[in-house]
């Protein structure tokens, strides 16, 4: 098998095992076009607010007796550690733990039958804390990163990307104008595209905008108002990587318009410069521009789509143009149970014969308060030039506690 193809498969398998993000852009099905009511991050994802915790029970969780949903109040167990530890209103503490097992095998190509096999996986073990004092807000997420957490590492043995103390986010800022404007500085998820759970998708990896480890330090202004939301971030670089030449400087932004309560259209743009790109090891001007849509045609179905163009320029390779696309359906036949098929494609490496193609089928069950059981199955076909295409299958079973 071509060594490049092998590397690609290994990277894909590794990425599939690093899931720590938790965001639900499909909440547009409930009329939540804006994310800020439920998430500390004004653009969504990550730690829940008290309101978000309540909605996780009322709208997201599965209930054995549906009358609990129709007639009940939000469960007291929605609080921190299932409500066992009362917190003052100004303090929000939560945990995020994901663990499970990953199976990966090469299905087609010269080395069919090989692969990473089956292995246990701890994807995230984080604690998040937010302090709200009037307009002031401070937020930090720290934890243990078991594998492939390089960009988020704070302390590790000999600079390893595994077995490390990580901080995915840490920022301070203020909320103004009835909380419509949030200004902050620190390590922040890049404002770009859909911020969904499947952060290893091609649209996230090829644009380097996943919300797992690819946050960057910078200054940000986020706007959430009736019908509109958006964020602009000045990127100062990821100060958790070294040397400075690796750090990308530039800007990223998105804007989204809620055409209706259940249909939104957004656009994203990103441009960065690094003196030495961390992957290509050459000076690199990196751009990504695209659009995304969220639509809930019925209360049980949410469709999410994103298409991005990726444009790279380096003095060594000149221009490289590619792109990535993602189309996902999230069907919730009964509350708390999701069937989530998706397809994707993407290509930046100009040497590939065809774009990388992928198909996802995921099942998610929010079986208990603060608990999600999830199975992702992913098939991806990589087509390097001059060698046979390589198809790989990955299955990831996980338990997710958002405490």
């Amino acid at each position: 098998m071509n060594s490049t193809a092998i590397k690609i498969i290994v990277v894909v398998a590794a990425l599939c095992g690093t899931t720590a993000a938790h965001a639900f852009p499909s909440m547009v099905r409930h009329g939540y076009a804006s994310c800020q009511a439920c998430h500390v991050d004004p653009s969504g994802g990550g730690q829940l607010t008290a309101y978000g915790r309540a909605q996780s029970d009322l709208l997201v969780g599965w209930h054995f007796d549906p009358k609990v949903i129709e007639e009940g109040e939000a469960s007291p167990t929605t609080g921190f550690l299932w409500g066992l530890v009362p917190l003052p209103e100004q303090l929000n503490i939560s945990g995020n733990v994901r663990g499970g097992g990953l199976f990966n095998t090469v299905v087609t190509g010269p080395n069919a039958g090989t692969g990473a096999g089956l292995r246990p996986l701890l994807m995230a073990a984080d604690v998040a804390a937010t302090v709200n004092l009037d307009w002031f807000v401070a937020h930090a997420v720290v934890g243990y990163g078991a594998r492939a957490v390089g960009p988020a590492v704070v302390i590790s043995d000999k600079g390893s990307a595994d077995n490390a103390l990580v901080s995915r986010e840490h920022w301070v800022g203020g909320r103004f104008l009835d909380d419509q404007l949030t200004v902050r500085a620190g390590r922040i998820p890049l404002p770009f595209g859909l911020r969904n759970n499947e952060h290893t998708t091609l649209v996230r990896s090829l644009t380097r905008t996943d919300s797992n480890v690819q946050q960057q330090h910078g200054l940000s202004a986020a706007w959430n108002t009736e019908g509109w939301r958006g964020e602009f971030m000045l990127l100062l670089g990821n100060y958790q990587i070294h040397p400075d030449a690796f750090r990308e400087r530039g800007a990223a932004a998105f804007a989204e318009w809620a055409v209706s309560q259940n249909f939104t259209v957004g656009a994203s743009s990103l441009a960065t410069w690094a003196n030495l790109d961390i992957d290509a090891r050459v000076p690199l001007l990196r751009q990504a521009h695209g659009g995304f849509v969220r639509w809930a045609p019925t209360p049980s179905v949410a469709l999410l789509a994103e298409v991005d163009a990726v444009i790279n320029y380096s003095s060594a390779d000149a221009w490289g143009v590619g792109g990535a696309g993602w189309l996902q359906a999230d069907w919730e036949p009964i509350q708390g149970v999701h069937l989530i098929p998706a397809v994707e494609a993407g290509q930046v490496d100009q040497t590939s014969a065809l774009p990388t193609m992928g198909g996802w089928m995921s099942v998610s069950w929010f079986a208990l308060p603060h608990t999600e059981l999830r199975l992702d199955t992913i098939y991806r076909q990589v087509s390097p030039a001059n060698v046979a295409s390589v198809g790989s299958f990955t299955a990831l079973a996980q338990v997710h506690f958002f405490l």
Binding site: A33, A37, A50, Y51, I69, G72, D179, Q180, T225, Q261
Partner: protein
């Protein structure tokens, strides 16, 4: 969630419709309300129970609040029980003098502003509203109406739930067809 309270306002909308003396509803109408809150929060709701009476001088629109829905059952319940207190105030009404409405004698556009008396949550106050529509040759007019009101004016507690608070100003809209006598 309490924000639903806003829905009350909606009822007022229907008023604009009725504005046509001696006319009858010619189909299904719809009334909606929209409220916004902190941090870009938005809530929309609707109620299907609308009745209109016309004594030749005054049009009265009655909107039932017991079937008010916003898409989240707990929010609906909070709205009905805690904010609108539907058990005590099951309806909201708007009365408008027919003379206050600009109604074309034949086919054509309708548009204007008027003020009626709105009763919500047991409080009656003059309430301005805007209406517009198109009358067709066959005598059917498609009417839309909007009202912007302040919940505080009607003694409705502003909904607030776990840090998310709805702004007291709510927009209500309605659309429905009516037929000339």
């Amino acid at each position: 969630m309490k924000k639903l309270a806003v829905s009350l306002v909606l009822s007022g909308l229907f008023v604009s419709t009725v504005a046509l003396a001696g006319w009858t509803k010619a189909g299904v109408g719809q009334a909606t309300f929209s409220a916004i809150g902190t941090g870009g929060f938005k809530m929309e709701g609707k109620t299907p129970t609308v009745d209109v009476t016309d004594d030749g001088k005054v049009v009265t629109v009655v909107v039932g609040l017991t079937e008010l829905v916003t898409g989240i059952s707990l929010r609906d319940r909070h709205m009905r029980d805690k904010y609108l207190e539907v058990s005590k105030f099951p309806t909201t009404t708007l009365t408008v003098a027919i003379d206050a409405l600009k109604i074309p004698a034949a086919a054509g556009a309708i548009e204007g502003d008027a003020t009626g008396n709105m009763t919500l949550h047991g409080v009656t106050k003059p309430q301005p509203f805007h209406y517009k529509g198109v009358c067709k040759a066959e005598g059917v007019c498609d009417i839309e109406g909007t009202i912007t009101l302040n919940m505080n004016d009607f003694g409705v507690v502003v909904p607030s739930y776990l840090g998310i608070t709805v702004k007291p100003t709510v927009t209500i809209g309605t659309s429905f067809p009516v037929k000339r006598p």
